[in-house]
Each structure stands twice: as C-alpha cells, then as structure tokens.
C-alpha cells in the first residue's frame, strides 16, 4: 500500500485532493453550513498566527537572526488598520479624551490599502531599527528587538492624538468572510516560500549556517540581514492588521512582548527552518491555547474540587511546553525539513520496519 503511493501521479492527485478538501471545508465554514462563530474565529486567528509565525521563522529560522520584535511590528500594522479604516463619523466618539490628529482625522482608507500600508510602515520601521541593531550578534539582537517592540508599545500608549493611548481604538470594520484571512495567509506563505527558494533565500540560509563563510562567498551580510528583517516585519504588520480587523478593537496591551513568545513556541514546535512545520504548529498551538482554556476554569470531578484548575494554569502549561520542547525535542516537528509525501512515507516505512510508533530523529 505504501509502495503504491510512492509514485508521482498518485502524489499529485493526493495533493489536489487535499487542496479541494481544504477549500471545501473553508467554503462550508464560511457559508455557515458547518461550525459556529467560535470555530471560525479560532481558525481565522490560526491563519493570522500562521502569517506572523512564518515571517518570524524567515528571520529566526532561515536567516539565524534572533529577533523578538514581532509583537511591535504587529502593533504597527494593527494600529495602521485601526486608524485608517474606522469610519470618519465614528472618530470623534472614539477619540473623546484627546482629539485625533487633524490630518489623520480626515483620511479613511479601504481595508486592503490600510493593510498594505501597515505592512509597509512596519517594514520601514524595521529598516530604521535594523540599520543600527543588525550589526549586533544574537544575544544583543534579541534584547534590542525586544526593547524596540516595547518602545513601540510605549509610544502607542503615550501618543494619544494618534493612537488614543491606553483606551485603544474600537469600531474597526470587521471582514465578512474567512477568505480575507485565509487568502492573505496563503498568499503570504506562498511569497515567503518563493523567497526562501530563491537566490536570496539561499543567501539567508548561508548566513544562518556561517556568517564568516557566507561573507567570504561574496554575500553582502548587512543587506541580506536588513532585507530578511524588513520582510519579516512586513508580514508581521500584515498579520497585525488582520488581527485588528478580526478583533474589531486594538489597544497597546494586546501587543505586550509576551505575545512574541507564542510565535516563538510555534516556530520551535514546527521546526526552526521549516515553513510547513510552522503552518501546522500555528494551527495546533492556536487551537491548543483555545482548548486549554478549560484549565483556567475551576473543575469539579466526582464532587471534589481539583484545586490546580484556576486562572493562569493555561499559561503555566504553555511555558512548560516551550521548556520541554527546547530541552528534549529541539528539532520540533520537522526540524529544517519540509512536509512532503516522501517524508511521511519514509517515516511510515521506518516505523513499520522497527515496528514501533513515534518518530524518533
């Protein structure tokens, strides 16, 4: 059976089948035939997390730059969408403490334009940050990017005429269809995939493996690092913009730097340097975090209160999971490999041969 699957024709028809299956599930969900709003919301959130995680993996996993600025770049994208898409009539109601900047108060953009503008602004900020910061080695880079993501949040909390401060911005128009989220996610992942398999992508990987050797081979380190960093920020900004539209509200607290840690968990679980692994992990982690919400509710079993179930337990599990992953399963699901029929078949064969379950690496 396994050997029968192992030819090109079956494989491509399997791929087409999977795509049709995937598309029809989304169509059914989107037309409200199956599922409910909660499931749709979780799936949309997973799509957004996919975009941000894949972009983070481009920087951390493929280029080897330890950047922790994702939350800040998301905030830029989210606020751009929030500021420019809220209908003009609603603005005065939202900015009731400090009036909105008179220039911004007259501009309303369609969602797509605001989304792309958000991505571009995030990339611009990334370039400005990247020029000083990307000269640094890993550890410094992590602290500096973390710091910048906090500075962005501090600025958003304080620049009240632009961001409405700690009150946040409400009444952001909500997108009517799941295809907005899934369409952008598929497009983003495809673009990053193409980038990684281009000559730029090979340069990124060379920098990850050995900076000195890469430089000796004529790769302009600085240019490629800034490029990877800016592209990563662009997609994080897009993800942030979509998040604003999904939640219909933004405030600086949503972009606390701990948000970046969720993406870190995702890329470690999926495999640093594996796009398909990141996509799978995004859905698993996002859905998992939703499912784990029951840990935060008090639980009574057979009339006995289980005292460990109370608010905060979910995040303890979350951080334990990150620790266990990095201590014992450093390669994550796929390591630096990509998911393919060959990989699945090889693993199935190996398990059959050894007669054991699990996928030891």
């Amino acid at each position: 059976m396994i050997d029968k699957l192992n030819n090109k024709k079956t494989k491509s028809s399997m791929n087409i089948l999977l795509i049709i299956l995937f598309a029809s599930i989304i169509i059914l969900l989107d037309t409200d035939t199956i599922g409910d709003n909660y499931i749709r919301r979780v799936l949309n959130l997973s799509a957004i997390y996919t975009i941000v995680s894949v972009s983070m993996n481009l920087v951390n996993g493929f280029t080897g730059l330890f950047s922790l600025g994702q939350a800040g770049f998301m905030a830029i994208g989210a606020y751009t969408v929030a500021i420019f898409t809220v209908p003009l009539a609603e603005r005065a109601k939202i900015f009731y403490v400090v009036p909105q900047n008179p220039v911004l108060a007259q501009i309303e953009l369609p969602f797509a334009a605001a989304l792309i503008l958000g991505g571009l602004l995030a990339a611009l900020v990334a370039i400005l940050i990247g020029i000083p910061v990307l000269r640094l080695k890993r550890d410094y880079l992590a602290i500096a990017t973390l710091g910048f993501s906090e500075i962005i949040r501090i600025v958003l909390t304080n620049a009240k005429s632009i961001s409405n401060g700690a009150l946040g911005i409400k009444s952001i128009p909500v997108m009517p269809t799941m295809w907005v989220f899934f369409g952008v996610a598929i497009l983003s992942v495809a673009l990053i995939w193409l980038l990684i398999n281009s000559s730029y992508g090979r340069a990124f990987k060379a920098i990850r493996e050995d900076e000195v050797a890469a430089e000796a081979m004529g790769i302009n380190l600085f240019k490629h690092k800034v490029m990877s960093f800016a592209i990563g920020a662009f997609f994080a900004g897009i993800g942030g913009g979509l998040l604003a539209s999904l939640l219909a509200t933004v405030d600086p607290k949503q972009f606390y730097f701990t948000v970046t840690y969720s993406f870190l968990l995702i890329i470690v679980l999926g495999g640093m340097g594996s796009i398909s692994g990141t996509v799978i992990a995004s859905f698993v982690v996002t859905a998992g975090l939703e499912v784990l919400r029951f840990f935060d509710d008090p639980l009574t079993l057979f009339g006995i209160d289980i005292p460990i179930f109370r608010p905060g337990f979910r995040m303890v599990i979350f951080s334990l999971l990150l620790m266990i992953l990095v201590l014992f399963f450093r390669n994550g699901l796929l390591g630096q490999k990509e998911l393919s029929w060959k990989l699945i078949l090889d693993r199935l064969k190996r398990n059959k041969r050894t007669g054991k379950g699990g996928t030891a690496q």
């Binding site: 910061v133 000269r135 602290i143 337990f313 995040m315 990095v326 201590l327």
Partner: protein, 297 residues
C-alpha cells in the same frame, strides 16, 4: 525647581542606579562565563520579593531572619534554574539556550501569576528601612540612603571573590576560555553554580531594597528592571563587574533626570534605557570598561 527637589531627585537617581547595579552584576557575571543572557534573572528578583512578602506577612518572621531565608531561597531557585534550564543545553546551539532562558523566565512569571494571582501584594513595611530621615530639608527613606553603600560594599565583596580567591581565579579562567579551562581540570559546573549563587543573592538583596522603595509586588515586576539591568551591564562593558555597577548608576541617573527635567516625557521613562543601548552599541559596542573581543574563525 528648588535645590531641595533637585537634591531629592539626585538621591533617588543614585539609589535607583545602585539597585540597577545590583541586578546588573548578576547579568554581567553569567554573561561573562556562559555567554548567555540570563533572561530569568529579573524573575528571580521578582520571586525574591514574593518570598519576602510571605516570610514577613504570612509567617510573621522578623526582618533579619526573613532576609536570610529570602537570600537562601533565591539562591536555591537560581541554582535550580541553572541545573534544569541551562545545564542540559550546554552543547546545544546558542539559539536553543536562549529560547530555554526565555522559556524559564516566562515560566517563572506565569507560575507567579498562577500561584500568587496578578493582584499586587503589599511589600512588608520594614521599619528600619522605611523610616524617613531629614537631611537639610531633603526627606529620604533609610532604604534610599543606604542602597548605594550596600551596593558598593557588595561590589567590593564580589571583586574580592573574583580577584583574590581560588574559585574567583577559576571563574576568570572560565570566562576567558571555556574549553581550555575545562581541559585544565577546572570544575566548570561548580564555577557556573557559584556564579548563579552570587548573582541570585545580589538579586534577592536588590529585591528587598526595591520593595522598601516601591512597595507593590506583582508577577511582572522583574521584567522591566531585568531588561534595563542587562542594558546597564552592556553599557558598562559586559563581563566587567565594576562596569556593571557604573552602567547601573548611569542608567538610574539618566531615568530620574529625564523625569525631573522633562516631566512631559515621564511616559517614555522605560524607553530611555533602550535608546542608551542603541547609542552604546553604535558608538562603543564593548561598553565603557569592556575589553575588545574578536571573533575567532
């Protein structure tokens, strides 16, 4: 602005700066030896503050007994952290160790939120530290007054340990060349544990003084001081203990002076440390007192 207010703020700046210095020593020592940002250092500081709250308020211990217990507990936590989160990854890629450090920090924060809830707890009022002293029209608490002296004494102790004792010699050797030190028969694990013991006890003392100044204990109280103190360590030259103290003082003064002279920018107080970091890394990446390090190919 009257001269009194200025003097008051100057004293505040020095006192905050010396608290930063206490934490920065921990960062700089661990970085010097393991080449690792101990992200969880700020969270050990936070846990120490909670330990103090529990031993004085819940167990009604006198403050000097509580101080000993808090330092012991923090040291135990620091060593446990090293053994579980860093030791197994000694030969792993750098990025894995850093992720482990972040995970450990996040775990401590979440554990604190889970166990002690996010509601701020009041830090016990230790009379001997919180009494106000009036010096020529400037009113200061004892904690504010003694913090710089405590820091300088502890700096002296740390310098004595690293420069005059056998374990200190081993620490310097490990920090110069990890592999060679190992080959020379130095017990690496003992050296690393000692580093964590020193760092954690300084963090605990810092937490006690900090709590007397800002008596509100929350699970995320260690995050910002943690990041800032790492920056202080970079500013002073990472790996250099005296530099870390200097960096801490400069950072504390810069913050307080910003608040004093430009009150409109008070909201940006936490941002100034990161701006300093960028400037330092652009102008003098080795820090004020650091040595130049070159990459070996």
């Amino acid at each position: 602005m009257t001269i009194e207010i200025f003097m008051q703020q100057l004293a505040n700046g020095i006192s905050i700066g010396s608290l930063y210095a206490l934490l920065a020593i921990g960062y700089t020592m661990v970085y010097g030896i393991l080449r690792l940002i101990n992200f969880a250092h700020g969270d050990i500081f936070m846990m120490a503050a909670y330990f103090m709250v529990f031993s004085i308020i819940n167990f009604k211990l006198p403050w000097y007994v509580a101080t000993v217990i808090v330092i012991t507990a923090s040291v135990a936590l620091g060593v446990l952290l090293e053994k579980t989160a860093y030791k197994p990854l000694r030969d792993a890629p750098r990025m894995s160790i850093m992720i482990s450090a972040i995970g450990a920090s996040f775990l401590l924060e979440n554990l604190a939120t889970y166990l002690f809830t996010g509601v701020p707890k009041g830090f016990p009022d230790i009379k001997i530290l919180t009494t106000a002293v009036n010096l020529g029209g400037v009113s200061l608490s004892v904690a504010t007054l003694i913090t710089p002296f405590v820091t300088l004494i502890l700096l002296y102790v740390v310098l004595f340990i690293t420069n005059k004792t056998k374990i200190g010699m081993a620490m310097r050797a490990v920090s110069k060349d990890f592999e060679t030190a190992k080959l020379m028969g130095i017990n690496i694990n003992r050296v690393i544990s000692t580093t964590f013991i020193i760092g954690s006890s300084l963090a605990a003392i810092g937490a006690i003084l900090w709590g007397s100044k800002y008596p509100s204990v929350i699970p995320l109280m260690g995050v910002m001081p943690g990041l800032k103190c790492f920056i202080a360590a970079v500013l002073g030259g990472i790996g250099n203990t005296t530099g870390a103290v200097l960096g801490g003082f400069i950072l504390g003064m810069a913050e307080i002076m910003l608040v004093t002279f430009l009150p409109g920018l008070t909201g940006y107080r936490d941002a100034i440390a990161f701006i300093i970091l960028i400037v330092v890394l652009l102008v003098k990446p080795t820090g004020l007192l650091g040595e130049k390090v070159t990459d070996k190919v």
